[in-house]
């Protein structure tokens, strides 16, 4: 539910050319700020939030598309390679946005509470980690005892094939999990999926014996990246070199490359999600969420639809897993803990369960909060601690502040608070899900 104030506010902004101007000004301001102050968190926030302005204001769709493309394909790459940390933040937002979109199908559309969602992410990641590294030849060796001159099983370019394979493998895992548990409802389902998530993590932790599949808690490294042609690096430097101010190393180019790949995956995911949502499958999912008994009595095959939701959601996570393994060149079971599942779930709930734009915003807000705001705040406090500054009135010297007071450590506390406040004041999320309004030519409203 939108509050009257925000509706009113948006209405005043959505007049004539004003939205176009505002969008352009926001993007330009953000770019300029980041360009002049490449280390400032605030400048980056201004730039990133222009994506939201782009979404929220009313403008021609073609204009939005072009503005979005310029932002995503030109501005972000340039400022990203100038300060590689930004690119990392954006990459993480993309990864989590994709995960949140996948979980959104399961939780938001079909209403099946899944507390072990990262398991599918792990399946994708370990899939490429195994086939895209030396792990196949490490099989007979205990962790840490393998010789150092082992070859790679597959060439790095097999990565692209595995992006597609991951869809199938993760979807099958989803179905495999789904078959026995989907008779359960609500809390029971949540508990079983939680267990499944833990099983996958524990497997990853312990499958280093009798055959060393996962290398245990140490994780698998190095994992190959797809080869990047020389002309791509050269061409990028020729084109953007003057803007960036220094030549970009191939390593940084990889970050850029994975960002673009993640972007591509997200676009595909959004496309698939929207199309499915607007078909009989999507309607069946929502019907199952709203009332299982009524849905099945209306002829919706419950188990098949739930399996479909699990499979589609899982496949998104699987693809992102492959991407993560390749971009990090290292994975370990630690990345797939229960807290990660909860993190993705809170993005979905914070953003707006069932709403595509909502869960992307949720992913962005949570990631930025984690990586930038809290860490920035921690940094600021530690600077204050080293200074001579004193809080007036109460006469408190900053240097006496306990080092235990570290905002970055309070991430979960803050999350909990935010979620509680959201549930009280905006239970449908930041951008609540809306049903599509159909143009019903033959249904004239009686009075409106």
């Amino acid at each position: 539910m939108t509050t009257p104030f925000s509706t009113l506010f948006l209405r005043t902004l959505n007049k004539g050319v004003l939205p176009y101007l505002l969008i352009l000004v926001h993007i330009a301001l953000g770019s300029a700020l980041v360009y002049t102050a490449p280390r400032s968190n605030l400048a980056f926030l201004v730039l990133i939030s222009s994506l939201f302005t782009l979404y929220a204001l009313k403008a021609d769709n073609r204009f939005k598309l072009i503005a979005g493309a310029i932002l995503a394909l030109l501005i972000i790459p340039v400022i990203g390679v100038r300060n590689i940390f930004y690119l990392e933040v954006i990459f993480q937002i993309s990864v989590f946005a994709a995960l949140a979109l996948g979980l959104n199908i399961v939780v938001g559309f079909a209403g099946l509470l899944d507390l072990g969602y990262v398991a599918f992410y792990a399946v994708g990641a370990y899939l490429w980690a195994f086939f895209g590294s030396q792990q196949y030849y490490v099989l007979p060796f205990a962790p840490g005892t393998q010789p150092s001159d082992l070859p790679f099983l597959l060439p790095g370019d097999a990565f692209y094939l595995f992006l597609f394979l991951a869809i199938i493998v993760a979807a099958l895992t989803g179905i495999l999990l789904g078959l026995p548990v989907l008779r359960l409802r609500g809390d029971y389902l949540a508990i079983v999926t939680l267990g499944f998530g833990e099983v996958i993590r524990v497997l990853a932790n312990n499958l280093d014996k009798p055959l060393n599949f996962t290398n245990g808690p140490q994780g698998i490294t190095p994992i190959q990246r797809p080869t990047m042609p020389d002309w791509a690096v050269q061409g990028f430097n020729d084109l953007f070199g003057p803007l960036i101010g220094h030549t970009v190393s191939p390593a940084d180019m990889y970050n850029l490359y994975f960002y673009l790949l993640a972007l591509l995956v997200i676009i595909v995911i959004i496309f698939v999600t929207r199309r499915l949502d607007d078909s009989k499958i999507g309607r069946a999912w929502t019907a199952v969420r709203e009332d299982e008994t009524a849905a099945i009595a209306m002829g919706v095959p419950l188990v098949r639809m739930k399996l479909a939701a699990f499979a589609v959601g899982a496949s998104f996570a699987g693809v992102m897993g492959v991407l993560l393994a390749a971009s990090r060149t290292f994975i370990s079971p630690e990345s797939f803990s229960f807290m990660q599942s909860i993190g993705v779930l809170s993005m979905v709930i914070l953003g707006g369960s069932g709403s595509i734009a909502g869960v992307i915003l949720g992913a962005a807000v949570v990631t930025i909060l984690n990586l930038q705001v809290l860490q920035g705040f921690s940094l600021y406090l530690s600077e204050l601690r080293q200074s001579e500054a004193i809080i007036p009135i109460i006469n408190f010297a900053w240097r006496d502040l306990s080092t235990q007071l570290d905002p970055a450590k309070y991430q979960r506390l803050l999350f909990g608070l935010i979620l509680i406040l959201m549930m009280i004041f905006r239970p449908a999320g930041l951008i609540p899900a809306k049903r599509r309004k159909r143009k019903l030519a033959d249904d004239q409203p009686a009075a409106e």
């Binding site: 009989k280 019907a287 009595a297 899900a433 049903r435």
Partner: protein, 263 residues
Amino acid sequence: MALLETINLVKSFGGLTAVNRVNFQLEAGRIVSIIGPNGAGKTTLFNTLTGIYQPDQGQINFNGSSLVGLRPDQIAARGMARTFQNIRLFGEMTVIENILVGMHAHLKQSPLQALLRLPAFRREERESEHKAVELMHYVGLSGVGNELAKNLPYGAQRRLEIARALAADPLLLLLDEPAAGMNPQETEEVTHLFRHIRDHKGITILLIEHDMRVVMNISEQICVMDYGEKIAEGTPAEIRANTRVIEAYLGRGAVAGQHEEQR
């Protein structure tokens, strides 16, 4: 041959036998009511017929084949649609979408078609949307296609449930207390609607109802249940005269109803 037939149907929960050896036949094209005091097993009978419960014993034959062991969605696909005693709409979906879910089993679109928006998919969506609007108008709702179902007033929700059930193109429509909570005028309108559904769509109707005016007015045959058993069956006139029924259920209210009709 009867459209629906139950033979010695039994459904019990623990020690309670909610449906006890019910033999019942329903001819195609009729409007039949099931009445009985609260807890007589009427809704349990519905739930057993539609596959939400599996019978403990007995047979259910529908349109020439047995329904025992089938899932509710399979039974729905064979032409049995229902409404619920306590309205069960998909609240967060629009009115049109609710009706479209009712068509689920009939839509031929595949996920691939939906992803690629192939012409066949678009045509089917357009046609089903058109049909949904027609159904909406048929049950007496107009201009609310894009409203969320939960925002409709009570009477409209009841009508929407009927439209959703009709969307499945059923042979048999099961209505569980369709007039509950309606005022006399609304009751009259839906009674008229039921008759129209039978007369013009050729759909057989089996309804549970407590409102005796509706029951006596619309039914061609009435089946009375008490403590899980069928205690009487017959035309409204026969049921009114049946002493066992009067004792078990109708009491003095029936006499009053009779007077009202005679006037």
